[in-house]
Structure formats: structure tokens, C-alpha cells
């Protein structure tokens, strides 16, 4: 088997996630909801997923994102961390988030 040009990325607290060029978040005025557009699929993220994806700006670390979300949702960082990491890993594995 040929060597891949990329390797699977694993989420860490120091990862700085961003959206790859083929993925974008867009408000849809017809359905009055935010859509995530990718080559063959359109996703309709729920509120928390959308809050994570919007922070994937190529500047904030995962640690920072967790802290921000915890503040917004009035929760402890340790209570949101596992969900955020699992979400980012899943989206990274589908090449919908870049780490």
C-alpha cells in the first residue's frame, strides 16, 4: 500500500482546529438555520455543535475553546471537555475539521 501524504490527527488540548477549505458554515435564510456545507453533504448542527464549529477559527486552541464554552454554558471545563474532544475527533476523522 502506498504511503498517505497525510496522517490521522489526534485531538489534544493544544490542537488549533479550523475548517478546511471544502467546509463552510452558512446561515440559510430560507430555513432560518445554520448549515454546514461540504462536498456532498449538508449538515444541520445543533446549538452546541455550532458553538464548537464556529470556534474552529485556526486561532483558538482546544483548551481555549473548552474554557470559552464552559463560560458560555456556565459549566465546569471538565464537564464539557470530553464532549468537545470527541466531537472534534469525529469531525477530524471525517475530514470536516482540520487539527
Amino acid at each position: 500500500m502506498m504511503a498517505a501524504l497525510r496522517e490521522r490527527a489526534i485531538v489534544s488540548s493544544r490542537s488549533v482546529p479550523s475548517l478546511p477549505r471544502h467546509v463552510r458554515i452558512q446561515y440559510d435564510p430560507v430555513r432560518q438555520a445554520f448549515a454546514v456545507l461540504s462536498p456532498e453533504k449538508v449538515f444541520w448542527p445543533n446549538e452546541i455543535s455550532l458553538d464548537i464549529l464556529r470556534r474552529c477559527n485556526g486561532q483558538s486552541s482546544v483548551e481555549r475553546i473548552i474554557a470559552d464554552l464552559a463560560a458560555d454554558y456556565e459549566a465546569y471545563p471538565r464537564d464539557v471537555a470530553a464532549d468537545v474532544v470527541a466531537f472534534l475527533q469525529e469531525w477530524s476523522d471525517k475530514l470536516l475539521v482540520k487539527l
Partner: protein, 379 residues
């Protein structure tokens, strides 16, 4: 209607039927339209604008070969200005220097490039175009250099199913984000060539194992989408996500259709954009309403727990095999004629020519309606 009518999300725009390749599995209708039947630039732009108003978020620009339209950059720019996600579906042969960069500048979001084989000889033979494989490799490199995200599309049939591991390597070597291993859907030209293309069960099973293992191995490296082969299925696919449910397509002359092959259903009459507004066609066209939702279903679909999963499967496949567009898709194990699928695949194997000697009906204007002009492989 069993559920409220929702706006469409996706649109497939077949800008032209002209194409440098002659693939015998082409999803275009066997009656191809010549260039003089194509919509002009302004009409496509009006259609795109109405589609965006209606709620379309993604447009797949296809053909034939869509880049043969000299106004292609303009069409991308029109969609991009409305925030519509644009996906170019190309054969990647004969795109003039500088144009791929121009597509990217016009706002193209993604490029999907077909490979007829993982080996040059296969690509050139199936597309009936010498040197096409090399040109496709060059297109892939140019797309990456222009910063475009890339999907490699591999339409799979008897003559390349053993190349699936090589397709995976090829897509990795081209730095693609995505690979589609798409078993040919037997409509259009593929239906005319069904006996010449149908793989056998053992090869289909090997392929499924290879794809499953590769998907696991390549998580986070490359996405593999797998379009499974209907003739070996247990349940049908939700064709187009359900008839006229969230997507539609437009033929080069502006005919608005629920799917590629809808014109093979003789009872339906389709409308053209320009004669009516797109929103009216989507909402009111009798052809769009014919198989919408679940009210049209007979048994076993009507009471099936999967009726809102697969929406009865493919109406055109029901037409082609059961001779009745309202029948259960014969791909479904619950269809009373499901066993006909196995009979058809067995019959195809019995008629198979030695590898490399298959005489396809190559896709070109008039070829399928005049079988006496059936082409021999070029090499």
C-alpha cells in the same frame, strides 16, 4: 401528501451533453442533446438565482463535460455570488491552461474528478479516449496547485472492480480528501450496456471487504464514500434522497427532472425552466408530485417500516425491471421479483466476453438507437 413540502437542498445541473469521453455507463439519457439545445448563459444564471431563492444550498455542475461550456467561469461566479456551494464534476480531459485557476478564482468550492480505471490502459479503454489517464493526473495536480479540494470518483463495474485497491492508492497519491467508489447504477447508457458491465458476486464481496478495511485504516486521512451495487442489495437506496424530496436535476435544455433517468418513465411529462418558474415546477409539477412522499406506494412498501428510509427505492429501476414505475424497487428483498436481479447478474456473466474484448455501446449521439453502428474498442 404525507409530509409538508420542503424546499430542495441540492441541484444537479447537466450543463451540456457534449463530452470528450464515451463511457459506456454514462448516466445521461441515451437520447443525447446536441449543443444547439443547451440553455444560454443568462438562462442558467436566472435558473441558479431562482434555485438559491428556493433554498438550494449546493449545485453540482455536471454534464457531459461541464467545462466545455465557455461560460463556465461565469456560471460559477453567479452561484458563488449567491453563496451557493459549487461542485464541479469533471472528466478532467482537455481543460485549457489557466482555466482551473480561473474556476477557483470565480469561487469554485470543490472539484470531483472521474477516473475510469486506476491503470492508464483501463481509463483509456473505458472512456474510449487514448491518453485520457495522463490528462486526468495532470488535472488533479492542477486542481491541488490551485488550492481546490479534490474528490476522485471511480465508477466501478466488471472491468475495473479488481482495481479498487489501486483506486485507493491513486486517490491517496493525488492528495484527494475524498474518494467515491461508486458501483455503476444501471440506468441510461449503463442499462444499455448492462450485460457488458455487470460484475459477479464474488468480486462484489471482495470489493466490499477492501473498502471496509480501507475506510477504517484511512480515518482522518481520506474519506471513502461507497455507492453499493443495487443488483446485489438487500434493501434499495433512497434514490435522490426520495423522489422530489430534497434534490432535483436540470438537463442541458432546461428540462427539470426529479432524477437522471426520470424520462424513462413514459407516463410522466416534464416541464422546462423558462416556460415556468422553478418554484412552480418544484411545487406543482405533476411529475414531481407523482412519487413524492409515501401516498403513492402500494404494498409491500405502503406498510413497510423502511418506507421513510428508502422511499421505495428507485422509480426508474422499478420501471426498467418490473415494467411498472409504482412497483417496489426490485433491489428490495421484499419485492416479489427480487430474484430477477440475481437472474440478470447471472445472465450477464454467462454472456461476458473475455477481458479486453468487450464490445461496448460507447456513449455518443445516435449510438444506442442504431445498434448497427456499435463501436469496437479503439485499442
Amino acid at each position: 401528501m404525507s409530509e409538508p413540502l420542503l424546499p430542495p437542498i441540492g441541484m444537479l445541473a447537466e450543463l451540456t451533453h457534449r463530452c470528450p469521453l464515451q463511457c459506456p455507463y454514462c448516466s445521461n439519457p441515451v437520447e443525447l442533446l446536441k449543443a444547439d439545445r443547451e440553455l444560454d448563459t443568462q438562462t442558467w444564471l436566472d435558473l441558479f438565482s431562482q434555485a438559491a431563492d428556493l433554498g438550494v444550498l449546493q449545485v453540482h455542475l455536471s454534464g457531459g463535460e461541464p467545462t466545455l461550456r465557455r461560460d463556465f467561469e461565469q456560471l460559477i461566479a453567479g452561484l458563488s455570488a449567491r453563496g451557493v456551494y459549487t461542485n464541479l464534476i469533471t472528466a478532467g480531459v482537455g481543460i485549457a491552461e489557466g482555466r482551473i485557476e480561473a474556476f477557483a478564482e470565480a469561487g469554485l468550492d470543490h472539484l470531483q474528478l472521474s477516473f475510469q480505471g486506476a491503470r492508464p490502459a483501463t481509463t483509456d479503454r473505458i472512456g474510449n479516449h487514448r491518453g485520457s489517464h495522463e490528462k486526468k493526473l495532470e488535472t488533479a495536480h492542477r486542481a491541488r496547485a490551485a488550492g481546490l479540494p479534490l474528490t476522485i470518483n471511480a465508477p466501478v463495474h466488471r472491468h475495473n472492480i479488481e482495481e479498487v485497491p489501486e483506486f485507493i492508492d491513486l486517490a491517496l497519491s493525488l492528495d484527494a480528501e475524498r474518494l467515491e467508489i461508486a458501483n455503476v447504477q444501471y440506468a441510461g447508457w449503463a442499462l444499455a450496456n448492462r450485460d457488458r458491465l455487470m460484475p459477479d458476486l464474488a468480486a462484489v464481496n471482495r470489493q466490499a471487504d477492501i473498502v471496509a478495511a480501507a475506510r477504517e485504516r484511512l480515518a482522518g486521512i481520506m474519506t471513502i464514500d461507497f455507492v453499493t451495487p443495487d443488483y446485489f442489495a438487500i434493501y434499495p437506496k433512497p434514490c435522490m434522497g426520495g423522489w422530489a424530496r430534497d434534490a432535483f436535476m436540470v438537463a442541458p435544455d432546461g428540462t427539470v427532472l426529479p432524477c437522471h433517468a426520470a424520462q424513462t418513465i413514459p407516463s410522466l411529462r416534464f416541464e422546462r425552466f423558462g416556460d415556468r418558474r422553478l418554484a412552480e415546477i418544484w411545487t406543482d409539477s405533476p411529475a414531481f408530485n407523482a412519487f413524492r412522499g409515501t401516498d403513492w406506494m402500494h404494498e409491500p412498501c405502503r406498510s413497510c417500516e423502511r418506507r421513510e428510509i428508502d422511499w421505495g427505492g428507485c422509480r426508474c429501476q422499478a420501471m426498467a425491471i418490473a415494467g411498472d414505475a409504482t412497483a417496489t424497487d426490485p433491489a428490495c428483498v421484499k419485492s416479489p421479483i427480487h430474484n430477477r436481479m440475481a437472474m440478470l447478474t447471472d445472465a450477464a456473466q454467462a454472456k461476458a466476453a473475455p477481458e479486453g474484448k468487450e464490445s461496448f455501446i460507447f456513449r455518443r449521439i445516435g449510438a444506442a438507437t442504431r445498434p448497427d453502428t456499435r463501436a469496437e474498442p479503439a485499442h
